[in-house]
Symmetry: C2
Subunit: 243 residues, 2 copies
């Protein structure tokens, strides 16, 4: 808790190397369905020729795609696998493929994220220490101030959920959340105009969660989150529907 990322003045872009670049292109082609499952991928040598790169770069790219469980590399050839059996790490690329993220997928994400938030809350709240409870209440209080600007509230909401995650102390959920975060969140924040949640709803959310935290009622906090994510989903769906 004490030592956070204190130094991060410059946002380092993911450092696009040739192999990452190639991996991205191939990954997208596979996700786009340009290869049928069990079909053979072009040979490393052919791919190297196509991309004007060395076999080493191509091999590194394929090695990355293999970790996504999109292909199965074997002596004799790499074969495409079902997208449905892939790793969660394909979600990000899947979202960013069209000009606009797929509305269904976004809704599924929010639904799932909501369930994880609920899970976290029900596990964290019952075992709050007094200092943790005070911490959470302070965070909620600080939210009530800038309630009108979603821009300033949203990071506080995330911080609140992160704190809950730390208290719940479940590494599995934590890692899942990491991946979802890595795959979705940033992508979503940029894409569509911020859905403007009505201030009264936000006020109610914070107030409900506050009651739940105070009384140690995890289910109350979870329910408040449920409601919040439901209206969130409605707004996002609406934002994505408008061409």
């Amino acid at each position: 808790m004490s030592r956070m990322n204190s130094i991060s003045p410059i946002k380092v872009p993911p450092l696009m190397t040739r192999s990452h670049e190639i991996a991205g292109v191939l990954r997208d082609e596979i996700l786009r369905g340009q290869f049928r499952p069990s079909e053979r991928l072009p040979s490393e040598r052919d791919l190297a020729a196509r991309f004007g790169a060395s076999r080493g770069a191509v091999r590194e790219a394929l090695s990355q795609i293999e970790q996504l469980r999109l292909i199965d590399i074997q002596p004799g050839g790499a074969r495409i696998k079902e997208v449905n059996d892939a790793s969660i790490a394909v979600l990000g690329p899947l979202l960013g493929m069209g000009s606009k993220p797929d509305a269904d997928l976004v809704d599924q994400f929010l639904d799932t994220f909501s369930a994880l938030a609920r899970f976290t809350a029900t596990r964290a709240i019952p075992k709050l220490s007094e200092s943790q409870r005070a911490d959470l209440l302070a965070q909620l209080d600080s939210m009530t101030h800038d309630m009108n600007s979603v821009e300033s509230l949203q990071p506080k909401m995330r911080a609140f959920l992160m704190t809950l995650g730390g208290i719940a102390d479940n590494l599995v959920v934590r890692l899942i959340s990491n991946d979802l975060q890595a795959q979705f969140v940033e992508r979503m924040l940029q894409l569509h105009p911020r859905p403007s949640l009505k201030p009264e709803l936000l006020r109610e959310l914070v107030s409900d969660m506050r009651l739940g935290v105070e009384s140690g009622d995890g289910e109350a906090v979870a329910s408040a989150l449920d409601v919040h994510f439901l209206s969130m989903r409605a707004l996002v769906a609406q934002a994505l529907a408008s061409d």
Copy 2:
């Protein structure tokens, strides 16, 4: 639904190449905490010398570890990152490190998996078509037969949950489940002696789920699953506690 893995007579071992081998060793060393976060990893050349391998093989290994978000490769050196910020793909290795999987981690996994199962049930059951309902009921009925041997029941249980997942039709959860499956399930099935759930509990589980499926009550199915996973967790904890 129609085309499942019909052909899989020989179980192909994951094909241990040199680069995967190296990646495994380095990954485990990092997970074991042998490097502090932000510390520099030995250079590729040094690692190549250490493993008696070529730089190419080492680079492929590092490329894989990078995808686990365990290291951050940059010109100048690769730096270790926090395990807590890693990808979900580190769970498997994390489990398989000691002679016996960490009891807390296993419990967290089961808790999380339980939550996902509940989520899936609540999303799938309400929108069952009649044929899907019949399918699920048939699966449940087939469970009632070999209720005593956990070995034969367990795969049917998994198939049931998979069917539910297909109906829920949430790609995000599906992919998460894929990863959990890949990371945990196989590892757990081998490790500890099968916890022997009492037949009467299983009978109750199946019966409760049957009622829920028939009446389209997702919450009922979810609750039955909750109970089941709770006793499961108790048994596993007990099995792992016994030296």
